[in-house]
Symmetry: D2
Subunit: 287 residues, 4 copies
């Protein structure tokens, strides 16, 4: 086993201005950081600057506890939003599910293989059906049945579970309920959903049925951040598969499962590696 | 040059009933036809039977002039719709264009290579911009400028041009006008349009702008039959391409041109080879 | 639950001759079979006829026990090879694995979902590593460690296991040993392997390493039947994924896992649904 | 028309060392250059640093004539290879063709649309067949018939044509001859070829025939730099298309044309935009 190299990632966005890359690269270099990876993008129409840089912490002179503050003067100067994270600080995940297990199964399996480099802390469901999967992988499973009547109370229960487990990111793995704004506000751009269509086509319910009825020749899946407007959040990743008149609705659902698993897994990985910057209703994805 | 083998294609749809394949295959066999290719599909939910069969005419005992009538008793028995065409009977095409030349260029080029096996008879445009392309390939070009005021009259001119050239199929190669029902009724399921999005996403105007604003990670193009509802006709073919935040609107337009050319060409070829059966707002494509 | 409809599938190949479709369709129709699905293909260069037909057994007048014999006179007349199988006769599968679990995991999961419609009877491995997965899904696991020295004896053990479990089809799910001809002869065109490259590129060992060294922009995976020549068997299915200079060898291995799982699963499904006909070193796949 | 913004592009590779990004970004910033786009990549196994940066020349204080020299001290310090080009300095292209016109047609068409931002200076062919296309687009066409006997002399003629037209980059658009080392040495990593297979599969002659015989389910095309080993040069771009048993060799050739056109065009564009760095037999493509 090689020694684990500690790496820092800075995600940064601000109005574009001359010298930004130079200033930021210099700041890291001057404090002993060796830049491992750097990506930048300037949105042409709005002149916004997006930046991701990863550097080796081995000889970096600023201690972790002081890092956020250390970048503050630069951030103030450029009116920037920024986050800093070390790869050794594993994010804590909560998975929300209902009855379909394929996305959960995929996440559990990839997590077991170490593809996500995160702490899968708990699973919350409104149905007991998938408890067996949670048990198989020894992840705490919380049954929180939500009805029209008890929704507000049960959300309070869910939020308390998230809080007490210090959850950083929520994954909606075919969770068949809409989360209220209490979640969206608390976990802004930290709730990743999978929608089983090529958004914005077939938003809303039963997208495979809609696709089958319309006779499209290709179906898709979309992973996106959840916002307060259903199926309108910033898109992280999409993928498609070709279908034909031979495919029944059941075939679409079966083929779609493969897409959903893949697109959700890719979206989660990109998010967890701090490769996604949100820009209005769009994303910049540094992959 | 090998001698041209004359091939007949029967396209057939009717309510499903036992023995249909056997009856149709037998009929052809008994009259000396050697079946070269056969496809069938039964729509599960509506129990409709779709059928395409191609056979060698070399020893077929029914002369061309009597063929349609020869199938009539069977068609009546099964309440079928059917068409028969010989590959030696080239379809006559009209292309409608406005100012964007890429789809027209692609059609002219593929036609020159013999990919379409049709007679490209005339080009109609509401702008003079692409006359040079028509001239380059020696195809008659008719300028028919359409305005809000003169639309009905100019459509009469267009319809007369189509009639006098005995046009079978109309291709809308980025024609920026909506054809009225006079065309749709006269050329039902014989007008092929290219829409520069992955329908039903981004129907209507400026689909690349819509896609750019929404921040999708994939864009598409769709070839479909024109019906009386805009962008709602039965889809023949779709294809997609991956994009990213780096792609400006101009990049989308540039990348989209490649898609449009390909998807329209495929749609035309499938139509011309009698591989498309329309079923409500959907298609059965025997490729 | 709807009543299970019993369906028969005939796979047939013979030298091409006029009237084949008609004769075969008629034979089924005359004995009360309602054709549900029919595909045919004539290989142009060698004039070989390939045929797959599925029919409803509800009113078919020939009992199962007599069906093979019933088609014999036709088969003799046309010098045909043919097989008949009912969908109610589940095939019995053996999975061979070594240390990589992703393909096995995928098969177990899809089998649990009912995608394969087969009996997953046993798992054979030369390493104990994946016994836990077999246990998780309650499939018998047999450890048969193979070395250079004991290979012939251990193959005898393996063949006895297969025989006693009445195995019909063997799946090599990243089994890192070459099976001898004793297997290939006994299970001709019934051993499905996954090779982790886009064959014929990067045959042999370490295909991801080879791909990484060559600097290709796309990697692939291939499911194929095993023959006596390594990585040269008839290809059932292939799929690819785009890569870039950013992808390390580990990234290729990670991305490749997704491909391998998908391509093997598709290959197994096509085989189990009797959709694959072998033709020399090629396949006809009626999907 | 907006005023043309002059942009400089620096391509740089050297052994990796701490502070490289900072030093290079600073150098540009200190001389008044506004960085528009920056990409870097460190090859993990060999510790080589690859860098591409584009900056606005509007306020850059070093005149064009002195720019190469200005970067020399830095380059010496880091043992770097580097090139600098302004977007206003259009590259001069020569296209080599034989009898197949589809790739030439595509280049001419895209060039007309302004996709390449280069000067298409001349076409050289060993056959007269495509002279009509050159004439259509008013590009000088030189017929230089090459035989086994006259190859060395005719290459001298070709090289003189290239020299006198100050050609920067050669495109082999299905040129059916192998260029000798005299070309490879003179235009190292400036000769772009299209090979009509998914390399390294089906290198050499008749790749579609090879693919058809092998029964692959996917075919591809590859654009690459020409080196002294046939079909072994660094790959710039690849793309694939799905095929089936229904596709005859002619179908493969027809479908392959679409791939070849696309993959060659993408390869040319990437090369012309200075987005490709060669690294041994591999490329780093900053797209």
């Amino acid at each position: 086993m090689p020694p684990i190299i500690s790496t820092a990632v800075l995600l940064w966005s601000c109005p574009d201005k001359k010298g930004l890359v130079s200033r930021l690269a210099n700041f890291i270099y001057e404090h002993g950081g060796n830049i491992l990876d750097l990506d930048e993008h300037v949105d042409g129409s709005e002149q916004t600057f997006f930046f991701r840089v990863a550097w080796d912490m081995a000889e970096f002179s600023i201690p972790r506890a002081a890092m956020v503050e250390a970048f503050l003067p630069l951030a103030n100067e450029y009116q920037a939003h920024y986050t800093i994270r070390l790869n050794t600080e594993k994010r804590r995940l909560a998975i929300f599910v209902s009855k379909y297990g394929h996305c959960l199964q995929e996440i559990l399996w990839r997590n077991e293989l170490g593809e996500f480099d995160a702490e899968l802390s708990l699973i919350i469901s409104n149905h007991p059906d998938l408890a067996y999967l949670a048990e198989r992988y020894s992840i705490p499973f919380h049954l929180v049945p939500v009805t029209k009547e008890n929704r507000a109370e049960q959300e309070t229960v869910q939020l308390a579970l998230l809080e007490s487990a210090q959850i950083d990111t929520i994954i909606l793995a075919r969770y068949m309920q809409v989360l209220s704004n209490r979640f969206v506000e608390r976990y802004t751009h930290r709730i990743v959903n999978i929608h089983h269509s090529f958004l914005p086509a077939f938003a809303g319910g039963n997208p495979y049925k809609q696709a089958h009825d319309r006779g499209v020749k290709i179906v898709g899946a979309t992973s996106h951040y959840v916002t307060d407007v259903l199926d309108e959040g910033p898109i992280i990743e999409q993928e498609i598969i070709r279908i034909s008149h031979k495919d029944s609705l059941d075939d679409l659902i079966r083929k779609g499962r493969d897409l959903e698993r893949l697109v959700l897994a890719r979206g989660i990985r990109l998010h967890l590696q701090d490769r996604v910057l949100v820009h209005g209703r769009k994303t910049v994805v540094f992959d």
